[in-house]
């Protein structure tokens, strides 16, 4: 997943989809969902799993890509899983989407101030600092996270940890 930014060019040939799944909170359900993707040759670009609105339910957000027929199969097959309550393809809906990334980058005094400028531009935060390295926390949609990693790459990235996207449908925004 750390390589996401590099692979993006070739990966995004077919449209990206964000699929939200409300599911029973157990490992069997999560395994079935992941197994469905590997078993049927679908792809997962990112996946996040956490508690949903009610105890006992989990919200899984999957970003994937594929043509319309593949995405239709993915949503239908997900829906067939007994533990799955609801599957929503958020791609065609207004949505709010966020990903959090922690980026550890080489930051000797000579390049530190330039890095901090980039951090400001992306409204990111520095959450750890040592004589040689900085760890940056950034939140945004996947594109923004990709872009910030792209900008920091020239300084030498030590490690990246990304959560994968989480998303919800955007509510009514007022009439125009």
């Amino acid at each position: 997943m750390a390589n996401n930014a590099q692979n993006n060019g070739e990966k995004n040939e077919s449209p990206k989809h964000t699929i939200s799944v409300l599911v029973e909170h157990n490992f069997n359900a999560l395994s079935r969902i992941v197994g469905l993707f590997s078993g049927r040759g679908f792809e997962i670009d990112s996946i996040s799993f956490g508690h949903g609105q009610e105890p006992g339910l989990a919200r899984i957000t999957i970003t994937t890509h594929g043509d319309e027929q593949i995405i239709e199969q993915i949503t239908k097959q997900l829906h067939k899983i007994v533990d799955v309550h609801k599957v929503t393809d958020l791609t065609y809906e207004p949505l709010v989407e966020r990903e959090l990334a922690l980026i550890k980058v080489y930051a000797p005094p000579s390049s530190r101030s330039e890095i901090m400028q980039i951090v400001n531009v992306f409204r990111a935060k520095i959450i750890d600092i040592s004589p040689e390295k900085l760890t940056i926390e950034i939140t945004g949609n996947q594109d923004k996270v990709d872009a910030s990693i792209g900008m920091l790459r020239q300084f030498g990235i030590v490690e990246v940890a990304r959560t994968g996207s989480v998303a919800l449908k955007r509510e009514f925004q007022g009439s125009t």
């Binding site: 157990n26 199969q73 097959q77």
Partner: protein, 584 residues
């Protein structure tokens, strides 16, 4: 998180305590047997072992549930599958942990591919040993996850009753399929309240049954206006018990019907509307009808690659209507114009209500001409039993009324072509997975579930040897199965492909140098063994065989070694690009 089994389980434990006043305390193994009775189980196919000894101890005194001791868990699973296919009830398997569970895998995958309702109970090591590589431990829920509709690992004995009810409900509703329930040894020892549950509540599982009326009306209109309509009928009509509804509809409007392997028998083949089977070894006229029709109505069928051939050449002139209970089947392989999600048993009568008589006379002229010009061939050879002749003789001897269980290979396709199937749930075969070794144990299951019907297993010398050890079971339970071995000394279908596509290089496909003497083999188990090597010997052998009613009969038909099954759509070809015979 590892311990986070369904959080529902916590709730039910509380419920259980609340209701404790009206319920009885029992050990898990007693709850198990009691609940099986409650859900209507009358037969279990099983094999004991360490992890399930408590259950077997309870079964020792059980009078209502019939336990069939098989000789291998794979065969037990096929037998439960054959029982389910022939009766419509859910097949039940009981196996121990570890190897007991892994032996059921092929049977579960077979059932999964053909949507057969099974509940497979496996023993498991005690919960505190799970994950420790304990003796006879295998993660059977993990191993079977991709081939089950759902699975359970019971981690709280107070949920056992509810889990069993859910498992049976899931297995045999919507699009049916196998469910695995893994039972750790401590769960079947511990005690809990038995509550006598009578309903299942699964908020996330609500299969659609009723079709969308407007869609059905639209479909009816499309069929009514068609000039060359065709019904393409699959296993969904078998599973949905909609044979009557289908037959009524097709006869009333005189619409031709072709069935898949899984749909055989749902429309009586003796009726004039029947075109037999379509697909790789379908009839010439069924495949041409599929190619030439202008409205194709897929009813409980899933456009399998063995049916469609090359997709861009499949039914290119037709508008397509697809009726299926599983929305994921619709437009998976072939895009359709009118999808109808619903239970065929509900949809077909509604379709009938909205339909008008289409103009099909001209279409029937063409179809009749095709049937005359390109019939299925029954070749003759002096002094040699031809496979097609063998099947016709079997059809005759059983008056087309047997439950036919075919294994996998050439004999399966010949059986599909040449036996006249007039009844639903009377042709059982591993269609999706193509499991060699399925036939004979599945026939045992059919015989157990249908003591009043003739059960005929058509198998090959290769496939029979994969599960022939079950002769012991069939003899023990006095199952009068007629086993017809189409003995050509080869893995016939492999040989046929090697002949046609691999320059006759018969690499590892011959069995004849070390085939057993099937007659002696049968006799050694206490079954009846018979053999026919010439056409003249067939009738007398069949006559002898049909008289036996207290044990299995093995009939060794020594047939032509290198006969090929035609018509054949070569892999990668379109349905209309059939090879019709050797001469081409």
């Amino acid at each position: 998180m590892k311990e986070s089994t369904e959080s529902q389980e916590v709730k039910t434990e509380q419920q259980a305590q609340n209701e404790a006043g009206s319920s009885r305390e029992m050990a898990g193994h007693e709850i198990f047997v009691e609940t099986l009775r409650d859900v209507g189980v009358d037969t279990i196919f099983g094999y004991p072992g360490g992890a399930v000894l408590d259950i077997y101890n309870t079964l020792y005194d059980e009078t209502k549930i019939n336990h069939i001791l098989v000789r291998h868990e794979q065969a037990g699973t096929h037998a439960a599958d054959g029982y389910a296919r022939s009766t419509g009830k859910t097949g039940v398997v009981l196996a121990t942990s570890g190897p007991g569970g892994t032996n059921t895998v092929t049977g579960i995958a077979t059932a999964s591919m053909d949507s057969i309702p099974l509940v497979v109970f496996t023993g498991q090591v005690p919960t505190d040993l799970i994950g420790n590589d304990a003796f006879q431990e295998a993660d059977i829920v993990g191993i079977t996850r991709p081939i089950t509709k759902h699975s359970y690992l019971v981690k709280d004995v107070s949920n056992l009753e509810k889990v069993i009810h859910e498992a049976f409900h899931i297995a045999n509703s919507g699009r049916p399929g196998p469910v695995v329930v893994d039972l750790p040894k401590d769960m079947i020892k511990q005690k809990a309240q038995f509550r006598g549950i009578d309903s299942v509540e699964l908020p996330s599982y609500k299969p659609v049954t009723k079709g969308h009326e407007t869609q059905i009306a639209k479909a009816a209109n499309m069929i009514s206006e068609a000039e060359r309509p065709l019904f393409y009928v699959g296993g969904g009509v078998t599973l949905g018990d909609a044979s009557k509804e289908l037959t009524k509809l097709a006869e009333k409007y005189n619409i031709p019907v072709t069935t898949t392997l899984m749909g055989l028998g749902t429309f009586p083949e003796s009726k004039s509307q029947s075109l037999g089977m379509l697909g790789m070894h379908g009839t010439w006229y069924a495949n041409m009808a599929t190619t030439e029709c202008d409205v194709l109505v897929a009813i409980g069928a899933r456009f399998d690659d063995r049916v469609t051939g090359r997709l861009d050449g499949f039914s290119p002139k037709s508008k397509k209507i697809h009726i299926d209970i599983d929305p994921a089947c619709i437009s998976k392989n072939v895009p359709v114009d009118i999808p109808i999600v619903g239970d065929v048993k509900n949809v077909l009568p509604t379709l009938e209500k909205y339909m008008r008589q289409p103009e099909v006379d001209e279409w029937w002229e063409t179809l009749n001409k095709w049937q005359e010009e390109h019939p299925l061939e029954v070749p003759q050879k002096d002094g040699v039993i031809m496979p097609q002749y063998m099947i016709e003789k079997l059809s005759e001897a059983t008056k087309g009324e047997a439950i036919v269980v075919a294994d996998v290979g050439q004999h399966q396709m010949w059986a599909a072509q040449h036996y006249t199937f007039n009844y639903p749930r009377s042709m059982l075969s591993s269609g999706g997975l193509g499991t060699m070794g399925y036939g004979f144990p599945a026939a045992m299951g059919a015989a157990v579930g249908n003591p009043d019907r003739e059960v005929l297993c058509i198998t090959g010398d290769g496939g029979f040897q994969m599960t022939s050890y079950e002769l012991a079971t069939a003899v023990e339970y006095q199952l009068p199965i007629k086993i017809a071995i189409m003995n050509n000394g080869y893995l016939g279908m492999v040989r046929q492909w090697q002949e046609l596509f691999y320059e006759k290089r018969y690499s590892h496909s011959t069995m004849k140098s070390a085939n057993p003497d099937f007659v002696k083999m049968a006799e050694s188990y206490g079954a009846v063994g018979l053999r026919a090597t010439t056409p003249e010997e067939v009738d007398p052998m069949l006559e002898k065989a049909m008289k036996v009613d207290d044990r299995p009969v093995v009939m060794d038909f020594v047939v032509d070694e290198e006969a090929n099954c035609y018509p054949m759509v070569p892999s990668g070809a379109a349905l209309y690009e059939m090879i019709e015979s050797d001469e081409e």
